[in-house]
């Protein structure tokens, strides 16, 4: 029987605030253990959590950017369970009345676009971090992360393959980072993903029994884990067995998922509204205010780049991968008036330089002004495209503008006909054998002469002019 995977994803994204969601403790990553806690986030009796307004605003931005409907009123709820990383014995989250619902994003696949529904987006606090002792039966608790603001983005079970899941995640990640509400750092846990996976016979309506996958900390691992889990469930079903509803952990080194037994009975969270936190009312005026702050989103930008600059879809995709890169490219286009040349240079040399040094475009030593100036210098014939490669390398190394580099290295293109004619005469005189070959009909030798002239001018001769002059001079008369 042919099976069809049904996948839903839950993304946890850390909101990029300075302070925690319900107290003033810092959210800075990597500080000493337990150095960023207070009575509120430690869950001492008698304290009162107060909601960080920025968290609501950031969550609203993401909701609007994914076409969700923001509920006019939402509340926080307590999710009750015991775990040493949760000092209060409950996590403050949202349950029956989340911030936003009924959204979607469009993902690009080889076979065209697909719309993935978003069930809900809600706000919650993160838990602490556990470090397990390798040698002793102890675990160590760091509560710095406790109370760090998160949003959870829950997708509809619209995803049908590991590949679609990866495309969806990339889209959500890209939007969050574009909005500047999340730094998107997966290694530090600012962007995490769990997946619900089940199989059903192709064409069937009803869903199969699902497993929940956790512990996948990169896009690649999400895809690998889903591919593995789909195969595993298929194997179970084809063998006449039943998939067990359970949580499974992805094991990156072994490339398999393991059952996480024993925690199932704990899934009785007894949610109830948190009496410490009053309801949040979101007016239309507030929504409009937030909507006005939304930047152009990646997909919109991509489409505009195709339309306005006439560059290939692939280029538009690369250039809009981050807001900073897109801004850089657009600045170069604006200053040079050459969208295609700008795209070639940014996609080629600039990104290659930056990738080699693992540098961000914001730290690029070649400013948009300098790159644009260089493109203009190529266009007006001051330097050849070949020399420009040398110039750009020096610009990247020194941060100097192109005119300075060209002057210092004496790289201005030779366009003086008289001077070039003299060089060609010298070259012809120095290579009588090749000249003889050419004149007896061996056209291929033409390239040899071009090379010799370029060599004699250290690559500075205008190639078109060299071609024209050689055509005139080589045949003799």
């Amino acid at each position: 029987m042919e099976y069809e995977p049904v996948i839903g994803l839950e993304v946890h994204a850390q909101m990029l605030t300075y302070s925690k969601i319900f107290c003033g403790c810092s959210t800075t990553f990597g500080e000493g253990p337990n150095s960023q806690t207070c009575p509120v986030c430690q869950g001492m009796p008698g304290v009162l959590p107060v909601l960080n307004k920025k968290v609501v605003e950031f969550a609203m931005k993401m909701s609007l950017a994914t076409s969700c409907r923001i509920n006019p009123e939402c509340v926080f709820a307590r999710k009750n369970y015991f775990y040493p990383d949760l000092p209060k014995g409950y996590q403050i989250s949202q349950y029956a009345l989340p911030l936003a619902e009924f959204g979607y994003v469009d993902i690009e696949l080889n076979g065209g676009n697909k719309r993935i529904g978003i069930t809900r987006i809600h706000m919650e606090e993160d838990a602490g971090k556990l470090v397990h002792d390798e040698h002793n039966p102890s675990s160590y608790v760091d509560l710095n992360r406790t109370g760090v603001p998160l949003i959870e983005i829950v997708s509809e079970p619209d995803i049908r393959s590991a590949e679609e899941a990866a495309a969806y995640l990339r889209r959500i990640h890209e939007i969050l980072v574009y909005l500047e509400v999340c730094d998107g750092n997966m290694e530090q846990g600012s962007f995490r993903c769990d997946a619900n996976v089940s199989l059903r016979p192709r064409g069937a309506e009803a869903f199969g029994i699902r497993a929940e996958l956790k512990n996948m900390n990169s896009f690649r691992n999400v895809q690998r884990a889903l591919e593995y889990e789909i195969k595993r469930q298929q194997y179970v079903l084809e063998g006449g067995g039943e998939v067990v509803q359970e949580t499974r952990l992805w094991d990156d080194t072994q490339g398999v998922t393991h059952s996480m037994r024993g925690k199932e009975e704990a899934h009785d969270y007894r949610y109830f509204p948190d009496p410490d936190l009053v309801p949040i009312q979101v007016s239309d005026a507030w929504i409009d205010e937030i909507r006005r702050t939304l930047p152009e989103l990646p997909l919109e930008k991509r489409e505009r780049f195709l339309r306005e600059y006439g560059i290939p879809a692939y280029d538009a995709g690369v250039l809009t991968a981050s807001r900073a890169l897109a801004d850089y490219y657009e600045a170069v286009v604006k200053l040079s008036g050459k969208p295609k040349a700008a795209s070639n240079w940014v996609m080629g040399d600039i990104l290659r330089f930056l990738n080699e040094d693992r540098r961000d475009i914001r730290d690029c030593p070649i400013s948009a002004e300098s790159l644009a100036e260089m493109i203009v210098l190529i266009e007006d014939g001051t330097i050849s495209g070949k020399i420009a490669k040398e110039v750009s390398e020096e610009m990247y190394r020194s941060g100097k503008p192109p005119r300075v580099v060209i002057e210092e290295k004496g790289l201005v293109q030779i366009t003086d006909e008289g001077a070039l004619e003299k060089t060609i005469e010298t070259v012809m005189a120095a290579n009588p054998a090749q000249l003889e070959q050419f004149r007896s009909g061996k056209d291929k030798v033409f390239g040899f002469f071009v090379g010799q002239v370029m060599k004699a001018t250290q690559g500075k001769a205008n190639p078109q002019l060299v071609n024209d002059l050689l055509k005139k001079m080589l045949p003799g008369t």
Binding site: T17, Y18, S19, C23, G24, C25, S26, G32, P33, N34, S35, Q36, T37, C38, P39, Q42, V50, L51, N52, K53, K54, V55, V56, E73, V75, N80, F82, Y83, P84, L97, L130, V131, H132, D133, N136, P137, S138, S139, Y140, V141, D142, L143, L249, M260, K263, A266, D268, R270, P273, P275, L277, V278, P279, I280, Q281
Partner: protein, 95 residues
């Protein structure tokens, strides 16, 4: 009966409470009385009423996103029965 002994035992387990047989019976009967009393609320006509989640009418109590000093580590750990270095120490939990 509004609640069974099994349900009381289940809730006790979720709350990490241990009851002996007598206690379980006592609490089952007490909880039953409380739930029966709550039944009275069902007699009120709530047609057209929005369910309320809070007893006060206030909404939107916010703070600005500003960092305040946290506790010094020694104070942060001062209630811990068995700290180690800068950490709380707990019996090993394996996921």
């Amino acid at each position: 009966m509004k609640i069974t002994k099994d349900e009381v035992a289940h809730v006790a387990h979720l709350a990490r409470l241990e009851f002996d047989v007598e206690e379980t019976e006592k609490f089952t009967s007490q909880l039953n009385d409380i739930l029966l009393y709550m039944e009275k609320l069902n007699e009120a006509d709530t047609t057209g009423m929005e369910p309320m989640t809070h007893a006060i009418a206030q909404k939107n109590a916010f703070r600005e996103d500003a960092v305040l000093p946290s506790l010094p580590i020694r104070e942060a750990l001062s209630n811990a029965p068995d700290p180690k270095g800068e950490f709380f120490r707990v019996p090993k939990v394996i996921e």
